[in-house]
């Protein structure tokens, strides 16, 4: 502590100096904030103001500084001081712009500003500059799991950027599903003809690339470690095991076609009814000549049934659309028309889905004479002469088509490994001694792809329908296992063009992961954050909440059953900190102390002051910007609230709430993101965990003699500037009606 020097810089620009008693703020910083250096500047964010601070850091030994000016979201680039710890007291968006105009409000406005200065000073005293943990031995190799089109593309992308790649493929050859295609749909103009797949050429490039090491006939027996230090046990079919050290993983394990045998009503299992993969095999055998059925008869008429076992609302088959099948059927119909224009090829579809330039491919098929009929197939009969019965949606009548061959466009079923929800249930029962569950667990784990040695299970969490997708529209690569990225049809149903794009992007994410982890930096979304949670294990009660609740599976258990933090897997959300009942987990710059000391720093008025005091804990990504936006629109809200931004509502430790209420605050508002199926929390479960934990706080409040309404939780979207102002005012009115907290004076 001897070397620390604390400073407060107060800005009087943007009208702050007109509306606030700056001398009063300086006094608070000095006497209560205990700052050594206190300076006011009329325009702190300009070059001169910033230089003043830089000079103090360089010449005067300032190490910790509180900037009392605008929101932390404004002028962020101006106030960058890499060697110093910085807190921001939000006097502009948080006070000046939201407290009603007029001298009637001068007193509460000044009180609010003084509290924010107290809070900023209190916070900075507890903050440390994160040093970051540079790992010189960190591996930059990329492990690609799956050697199909996506995997080969990812491997080439990373290798061509200079990174070493280890590719593990289960079968004896590269190429995956695509190697069994006769041709592929076109990727570029003029989008008129099916194209050679290029799989063999790509496989040859991969096999001969000096940076790529390929393991065929291999699976992952175990994947242990974390980004920068994954140890993959690559098990050969022969039984030998090779250990590969890698920094990040791209999983491209593709899909399996939906089993045609599950569609007996559509002729699945009957002669001369095939799926799209089956038709490719016939086309390869024909090699551009006449396509023959399994019985050797030349096909003169073919019917394609779209959405076979897909878009199913009954719950029996696949609920989703696989996206590629319309274009695939068009391509396959062309196989026939190109060989012999006299062959009848009809595609029976409900909605023909060929977005983008696929429209030109569709036109090309129409020009070649492929017939497209809008209808819904109800029954297919196979055999020597096949028959498709369908409802013609245009003529609004039942119709039939006879064909030599019927092709069912079935969907993609992802190969994403173990469903962790299922695993967790079984694992819990098995750990509890249930013998049947133990057997189920063994069976389930045998289907794992990655075999992660993680406390939270052997594969990536899946999103919906078994795809290991991200739930974020803006961030499609965000899986819930740090440094492990999903690409291709195991992430989302997709065609080959999208899969190659996806794999190229995933390779970049993997490169990013290995680059950042070596520097000790957090990956997305707190990119570059050098802080990292540490635990005082001597205080730990081994309750396991942190290991269970971490949304990213970052925490394992050591042999003594203490939590084992894997820094490289951590996203710095603080959910573990919020979970910890004994408060032993903290970050250098964000901890129970940095927030708790702010809660305590606020001047809580006495009962007779008739000024309620409300604590707002606001998610920094959505609720806090919404509050800023209210300020920018010059909306007003009550000056009785004090806002503290938090990394995620999941990081909120209930001690802050009980401390606040114990100290005589009249209410606490928690503002987080939408939870549930359409969750918007960027740390996945943060807001959900907060609701869950806080639903249990009622008893504590009761024990304190407090009404449950003194702590409420809200879902706030980033656009809710106007709504959040109203919510605050409504809540303050409600608290005034309830009367002051009975805890006042006991704090």
């Amino acid at each position: 502590m001897a070397d620390n020097k604390f400073a407060a810089y107060i800005c009087s620009g943007c009208g702050l100096g007109d509306k606030f008693n700056i001398a009063g703020l300086e006094k608070v910083a000095k006497t209560e904030g205990k700052m050594t250096v206190i300076k006011t500047h009329p325009f702190l964010c300009n070059a001169e103001g910033v230089q003043m601070i830089k000079d103090d850091i360089a010449n005067d030994g300032v190490t910790h500084l509180c900037i009392a000016a605008c929101s932390r979201r404004a002028k962020t680039e101006a106030f960058v001081f890499p060697t110093a710890a910085v807190s921001r007291a939000n006097l502009r968006e948080g006070v000046l712009w939201i407290v009603a105009e007029g001298s009637d409000h001068d007193e509460v406005r000044q009180e609010m500003a003084e509290d924010y200065v107290r809070m900023g000073c209190a916070e900075i005293k507890k903050m440390k500059v994160p040093e970051g943990n540079v790992k010189e031995s960190s591996s930059k190799r990329i492990l690609v799991v799956g050697g199909g089109m996506s995997g080969m593309t990812a491997a080439m992308a990373a290798a061509d950027a200079g990174y070493e790649v280890v590719l593990v493929e289960k079968t004896g050859a590269l190429g995956g599903f695509a190697k069994n295609l006769f041709k592929r749909v076109p990727f570029a103009a003029p989008y008129a003809e099916a194209q050679p797949t290029g799989v063999a050429e790509l496989a040859a490039q991969v096999s001969s690339h000096p940076k790529i090491k390929v393991h065929l006939n291999s699976t992952l027996a175990e994947t242990a470690g974390a980004p920068g230090r994954f140890t993959a046990k690559v098990a050969q079919e022969s039984g030998s095991v090779t250990e590969e050290l890698c920094g990040a993983i791209v999983q491209t394990t593709g899909f399996t076609t939906y089993d045609i045998a599950k569609l007996p009503e559509l002729g699945g299992g009957q002669a001369n009814v095939v799926d799209q993969a089956g038709l490719e095999a016939l086309a390869i055998a024909a090699n551009g000549g006449a396509i023959k059925r399994a019985d050797g008869k030349e096909v003169k008429s073919v019917a394609f049934v779209q959405c076979a076992g897909q878009r199913d609302e009954s719950g029996t088959h696949l609920a989703y659309c696989s996206g590629h099948c319309c274009a695939t059927s068009i391509k396959q119909a062309m196989y026939f028309k190109d060989a012999n224009p006299d062959i009848d090829a009809v595609v029976i579809y409900d909605d023909l889905r060929v977005p983008g330039m696929g429209e030109d491919f569709y036109r090309s098929a129409q020009q070649k004479g492929v017939i497209f009929t809008k209808g819904k197939a109800s029954k297919v009969t196979g055999g020597d002469s096949c028959k498709v019965e369908f409802k013609d949606l245009i003529l609004d009548e039942t119709a039939t088509v006879d064909a030599d061959l019927v092709v069912l466009a079935t969907g993609q079923v992802p190969n994403a490994g173990v469903n962790l929800d299922e695993w967790t249930t079984i694992n819990t029962a098995a750990d509890g001694g249930n013998e049947e569950a133990k057997q189920q667990r063994t069976a389930l784990e045998s289907t794992s792809v990655l075999n992660l040695a993680y406390r939270q299970g052997p594969d990536m969490p899946q999103f919906k329908y078994g795809f290991a997708d991200s739930h974020f529209i803006c961030f499609p690569y965000e899986t819930r296992r740090t440094g492990i990225y999903a690409a291709g049809p195991m992430r989302r149903p997709m065609d080959m063009l999208q899969a190659t794009e996806d794999a190229t992007g995933a390779a970049l994410k993997a490169i990013q992961a290995v680059e950042n982890v070596g520097l000790g930096r957090s990956p997305f979304p707190r990119v570059g954050d050098l802080s990292f949670p540490t635990a005082r294990l001597e205080g730990c009660t081994q309750c396991k909440r942190c290991t269970v609740e971490c949304p990213f599976g970052a925490i394992d258990e050591d042999e003594r059953r203490f939590p084992l933090f894997n820094e490289e897997r951590c996203r710095r959300c603080g959910t573990c900190m919020g979970a910890c009942p004994v408060r032993v987990i903290s970050f250098e710059n964000y901890s129970c102390d940095t927030v708790g000391s702010q809660v305590k720093a606020v001047n809580v008025p006495d009962e007779e002051d008739e000024k309620p005091r409300i604590l707002i804990l606001a998610c920094e990504n959505d609720a806090y910007p919404a509050l800023d936006m209210a300020g920018m629109q010059r909306l007003t809200y009550s000056a009785f609230v004090r806002v503290i931004p938090v990394r995620c509502l999941g990081s909120v430790n209930t001690i802050w709430i009980t401390d606040a209420l114990g100290a005589g605050y009249d209410g606490v508002m928690m503002m987080g993101c939408q939870k549930g199926d359409n969750y918007q929390c960027h740390f996945v479960k943060g807001s959900e965990m907060a609701y869950y934990r806080l639903s249990k706080i009622g008893d504590t409040l009761k024990g304190m003699g407090l009404e449950p309404e003194r702590m409420l939780t809200y879902e706030i979207a980033i656009t809710d500037g106007a709504r959040v102002a109203k919510i605050i005012d409504d809540y303050v009115a409600q608290l005034i009606e309830m009367g002051p907290s009975p805890m006042k004076g006991f704090g």
């Binding site: 620009g13 964010c45 404004a74 680039e77 992308a157 061509d160 950027a161 570029a188 103009a189 878009r311 609302e313 609920a319 989703y320 659309c321 996206g323 909605d351 023909l352 889905r353 977005p355 983008g356 330039m357 696929g358 429209e359 030109d360 245009i394 795809f467 739930h471 974020f472 529209i473 803006c474 961030f475 499609p476 690569y477 989302r492 149903p493 997709m494 999208q498 794009e501 996806d502 190229t504 992007g505 995933a506 390779a507 970049l508 994410k509 490169i511 990013q512 680059e515 950042n516 979304p525 990119v527 990504n621 910007p625 920018m632 993101c673 359409n678 918007q680 979207a717 980033i718 656009t719």
Partner: protein, 428 residues
């Protein structure tokens, strides 16, 4: 002048929408140097003008906030707004780029306090609401604008109104003497994330967008639904300000049509399905949405969203390409004429408001691009002959946000490969 801000190991990203921001950030977070050039005064692009995203109905500014935080904390990215690419020559690993920077008339001193906006009285059509309302001619483009800095519209720069703005500024941030600047720089790779624009609805003459006030585009409808929009989130008819309750959505307005855009714009079906839920949000069971469509292209798990909308009793679907729109002169309501192809019935249906799901055309359509760039038949960027320039996002194909980000990440990967080759060649 030749700027020293870039080298042949720098990546230039053109366009600061979600694709451009993504490409820039993804490359920068791999340690590469990036210049992100945006022609308007703010980053964010078209997505920041959307009310909600399908299928989660979440708000685009949520992801923008995260991307802006990534950007603010990353010294590898240099953002240049009001900047356009005038010329590119050279080849992979060594492109000479000419940038033109338009005057903003406001310097980095700006604190976004708003004094200049309060001081001026001149107004301009609000670009953030497609000109459906007006804002002061000294303005912050929108609440999430980045850089968070005001702009003075060129129309007032040399007028007494401009002087008012200058006089009001206490931090000396207004510089009315700013001139257009030209910068020459060298970069190794260029990512074109120039995005899309709505197809000109005036060209679809039978729909009367140019004649009928109550025929609007899907983009304008986004602004009507948005509480930050010109009507405060109320679905009001432009002709009389009355609430529109019976709303028609016409799909493929300009798309899948060889007379207009030959491609399918991909996003419009989902955008319309989403917009029917705006009608529900605003009017509950009292609203009525009718979708006139050819195929509903709700691809992959978007199918869930389609199925849920089909269950919504306020939404009906008519498989028909609307032939023409006439006007009920008495109430200014559009009347849609066409044939329902499911059963072949003719219809003449009156609606309070018609929303044209207009197609996406590349923003660079009609713009002179470097000769090197390879375009497809709809002017989407396929790549470049010298293989060092790449399309990203909806500049490369009509894509939704999720796939634009995917595409932009892939483009960043390709640009990083170019830089790697350049760097290793020079080292050797």
């Amino acid at each position: 002048m030749t700027a020293s801000i870039a080298t042949n190991q720098t990546i230039l990203v053109v366009g600061g929408g979600i694709a451009g921001m993504t490409a820039a950030l993804e490359a920068a977070e791999c340690g590469k140097q990036v210049i992100l050039a945006e022609k308007t005064p703010t980053l964010g692009g078209r997505t920041s003008l959307l009310y909600r995203y399908f299928p989660k109905m979440c708000h685009p500014t949520c992801g923008l906030e995260i991307n802006l935080r990534r950007l603010r904390g990353n010294p590898n990215v240099r953002v240049m707004t009001m900047t356009e690419v005038a010329a590119v020559t050279g080849s992979r690993g060594n492109y000479a780029v000419t940038l033109k920077v338009k005057p903003r008339y406001v310097t980095e001193n700006c604190t976004a306090c708003g004094d200049c906006g309060n001081a001026v009285s001149a107004e301009i059509p609000n670009p953030a609401n497609y000109g459906m309302d007006k804002i002061k001619a000294a303005y912050l483009p929108h609440g999430m604008a980045y850089p968070q800095r005001f702009v003075i519209d060129p129309s007032i720069a040399a007028t007494p109104e401009g002087e008012k703005a200058k006089a009001a500024c206490k931090v000396d941030a207004v510089d009315l003497g700013m001139q257009e600047e030209t910068l020459e720089l060298t970069v190794g790779s260029v990512v074109w994330a120039t995005g899309w624009r709505p197809y000109d609805a005036n060209k679809i003459q039978p729909y009367g967008y140019d004649r009928y006030a109550n025929v609007i585009t899907s983009l304008e409808f986004e602004r009507l639904a948005d509480p930050r929009g010109p009507t405060g989130g109320k679905l009001l008819r432009p002709s009389d300000g009355k609430e529109a309750k019976n709303i028609a959505f016409i799909q493929c307005a300009g798309s899948r049509d060889e007379n207009h855009l030959r491609h399918c714009s991909r996003i419009c079906c989902m955008a319309t399905l989403k917009q029917t839920q705006y009608v529900r949000e605003a009017l509950g069971d009292a609203g009525k949405s009718t979708i006139y469509y050819i195929d509903i292209r709700a691809i992959d798990r978007f199918e869930d969203f389609y199925q849920n909308v089909q269950k919504d009793a306020t939404v009906s679907f008519i498989k028909s390409k609307v032939a023409r729109i006439a006007l009920n002169e008495e109430n200014n309501s559009p009347i849609l004429h066409g044939v329902d192809t499911e059963g072949y019935h003719r219809y003449a249906s009156e609606h309070d408001l018609v929303v044209l799901a207009v197609g996406m055309e590349p923003e660079v359509t009609g713009v002179k691009l470097p000769d090197d760039i390879i375009l497809d038949s709809s002017n989407f960027i396929e790549g470049s002959k010298t293989e060092g320039m790449f399309g990203a996002g909806s500049a490369s194909s009509p894509l939704d946000v999720n796939r634009s980000v995917q595409s932009a990440t892939a483009a960043a990967m390709r640009a990083v490969q170019v830089i790697h080759k350049t760097a290793s060649t020079e080292a050797a």
